[in-house]
């Protein structure tokens, strides 16, 4: 059972350092991203290169992280015509990207369980267990996107699941990534 406002990870713990500039907002429809999958990557590249990023390596990592959380939100969007909202903000030595989508109970439950596990267990072991598992079955969902982001990059993640008044999409899922730029090696 999901509570009316469930949070995991960095939600509720972040310091309120003001953004260095106005956050960027984008809104897209899941149907467009599903039909033209490459737009996830185009969006990620656009956001990663449209801000004051210190190096090409940092931009590449930011693009990778945004792409993974955006692809994740498309996969768990229940209604193709309800928008996915992306917000990117630059703070002191961090880049924060939040992606919001509308979801059914079953998808909200999957995300809730996923975040409980990744914040309770050792990421190193969990990542390779999941990689071995998905590599040895024919499952069409890799389930390693967010885990890989946490495993490979200086990133912390959070998730917020809120109930809505909409009976078809009773949940809004927000996933936020905080990327630590001073830990990105050139």
């Amino acid at each position: 059972m999901i509570q009316s406002d469930t949070i995991h990870g960095i939600y509720g713990t972040e310091a309120a350092a003001p953004p260095k500039s106005q956050p960027m907002h984008l809104s897209m429809l899941p149907c467009d991203l599903k039909r033209h999958w490459g737009r996830c990557g185009i969006t990620a590249n656009f956001l990663a290169t449209s801000t004051e990023i210190p190096s090409p390596a940092a931009a590449s990592i930011i693009s990778t992280v945004i792409n993974e959380i955006l692809e994740n939100s498309v996969k768990y969007s229940a209604i193709d015509t309800k928008p996915i909202d992306v917000e990117l903000s630059i703070r002191n030595n961090t880049v924060e990207c939040e992606v919001k989508n509308w979801a059914r109970l079953e998808d909200a439950t999957i995300i809730d369980s996923y975040f409980k596990i990744i914040h309770d267990k050792d990421i190193e072991d969990l990542y390779f267990l999941q990689l071995e598992k998905t590599a040895t079955d024919s499952n069409n969902a890799s389930q390693i996107g967010l885990l890989g982001v946490m495993h490979d990059y200086p990133v912390t993640l959070g998730c917020r699941i809120q109930t809505t008044a909409d009976p078809i999409t009773p949940f809004q899922i927000s996933v936020k990534a905080k990327i630590y730029l001073n830990e990105v090696t050139p």
Binding site: S60, I61, E71, E132, N140, I144, G148, D152, Y153
Partner: protein
């Protein structure tokens, strides 16, 4: 096998050169793309994957790559990956794949 975003070229039956951006929708789409590689290593033959010019590979692609490594592990087929250190995802994600099979050979130029 070419696409606007990526190119897959077999230099020989045992060497494939991949370049571009691979951010496909699911691991199974990659499996279709990588079928000739899988067929070769399923016969215990060696395979070299040159991915030096792959600027991005998403998590579905990492999963598909892990599947190839598992096939090579199963058939003890020598498997070589050539990457580039200056490409962040290669430096981070490829090197750690060695944990799936310590006999995997990874060279970062």
């Amino acid at each position: 096998m070419d696409n606007d975003d990526y190119k897959i070229h077999f230099d020989s039956p045992n060497k494939v050169i991949i370049s571009g951006v691979l951010r496909l929708q699911s691991p199974n789409i990659y499996d279709d793309l990588f079928a000739p590689i899988r067929d070769t290593i399923s016969q215990g033959q060696s395979m070299t994957m040159d991915i030096q010019n792959v600027s991005f590979l998403n998590s579905s692609g990492i999963t598909a790559l892990a599947r190839l490594i598992i096939v090579a592990r199963t058939h003890d087929a020598p498997f070589f990956i050539i990457g580039k250190e200056e490409i962040p995802w290669q430096k981070k994600s490829i090197v750690s794949l060695k944990r799936l099979w310590p006999k995997l050979e990874i060279t970062l130029t």
